[in-house]
């Protein structure tokens, strides 16, 4: 019985291998784990998965499932998936309870007891990334947990230059490494000038930016999906363009890839 993961934002679970009306028995969501019970004709897969808190067996279109990545990468994606679901897949707004309280947990996890999550004037996206990475397990203990993306981005670039193998991420230019599930993609925040690029990020650790954790690579559509905090005032999915060869494109002011090296 193999483990697989949902590789699309929403996937119907059906009681029979058919798209006929009345066969849907539940919905599965991006990053969700399923147990593969068998393959059926027509590309259907028989699976067991959690639906609304209970285990159900049924059928899904097999092309929307993916094979597992390495264990620590999957641990990070599972952590990201928990937050994504906790924020109602991007529908839970930051300033509304209980979601504000979840943001408050993120602040406390990086040592800030002065913010409770109702602080809409304080960007919390880096606190969210730090929270999700921390909850991915001990392999990520040496992450530079911080209130600003610039801190852990700079740390990852420096770690690579110094060949520090104790840290979970190394920073790369977009044309140096193809993104994989479990990596972190970094972009500038153009609302706050001056513009930041990889060279600036290598030298400085205090500037406005943003990052998200990669959860899906869609080569056919030349894009990837990544989940981050304070995206649409929630924990939500962001889309990044891929360039030729499935490298990250620099559209959206993307300038770095933090490669997950926890399973190297």
């Amino acid at each position: 019985m193999a483990t697989m993961f949902v590789d699309v934002e929403s996937l119907n679970l059906r009681k029979s291998p058919s798209e006929a009306a009345g066969t849907k028995i539940g919905s599965l969501f991006l990053t969700q784990k399923v147990e593969m019970l068998g393959e059926e004709p027509g590309g259907w897969a028989r699976v067991r998965a959690a639906v609304d808190g209970s285990q159900k067996e049924g059928f899904v279109a097999g092309r929307f499932l993916r094979a597992p990545e390495t264990p620590n990468r999957e641990a990070l994606v599972a952590s990201v998936g928990r937050e994504y679901m906790r924020f109602d897949r991007g529908l839970g707004r930051e300033s509304v309870r209980p979601f504000a309280g979840f943001v408050g947990e993120m602040w406390k996890a990086i040592g800030n007891d002065n913010l409770d999550g109702t602080d809409t004037g304080v960007p919390w996206s880096a606190a969210a990334i730090s929270f999700m990475v921390r909850n991915a397990g001990p392999a990520y203990a040496n992450f530079r947990f911080a209130a600003a993306h610039s801190k852990f981005v700079h740390h990852a670039i420096q770690a690579r230059e110094e060949e520090d193998t104790t840290v979970p991420f190394w920073g790369y230019r977009l044309n140096e490494m193809r993104p994989r599930i479990g990596d972190i993609v970094v972009r500038d925040n153009p609302e706050h000038g001056p513009n930041v690029d990889f060279d600036i990020a290598a030298r400085l650790d205090s500037y406005r930016s943003h990052s998200d954790i990669v959860v899906r690579i869609d080569s056919a559509k030349q894009r990837l999906l990544a989940i981050g905090g304070n995206v649409g005032q929630s924990v939500s999915v962001a889309v990044y363009d891929l360039a030729a060869g499935d490298f990250l494109d620099d559209t959206r002011h993307t300038f770095a890839l933090l490669r997950n090296r926890t399973d190297d």
Binding site: N112, N114, L115, T120, G121, P123, S150
Partner: protein, 139 residues
Amino acid sequence: MAGVAVRRRGGVPAALLWCASVALGCAPEATPPAAAVSGAGGGVAGAAPAVAAPVAVDRATCASEAVLLTRAVPVLSAPAPGADTVRSLPRGAPVFLCAGRGGHRGVMFPAPGRRADCGQRGACPTGWLREPLPIELAG
């Protein structure tokens, strides 16, 4: 402000000076704490320290997003060495940076127990911090 102990300097209640300086949105919680400390440059013991008149922060210049303090700091009523301390902000507290003057930076900050949405409401207490600021970005 009943019940709030006010440190007097030169016979003028510091709280009144503070509120006069922030007439736009001066909330009760913006009054000085009971144990307000002297401003910098307090002078020799027994000598009357120079009193800096409160100066209002120009709220129109304040940023819409906050930064975080990396250590506790006193908030002053004016951008001057002899200014009263009107509050102490703890490490990690959010502040919205405003225009500076004379080696100080104007700031707006949420009152205790209030949401840090000063960028939207604009009715938060204000004051002055000495440069360089012990701050870090968020986001």
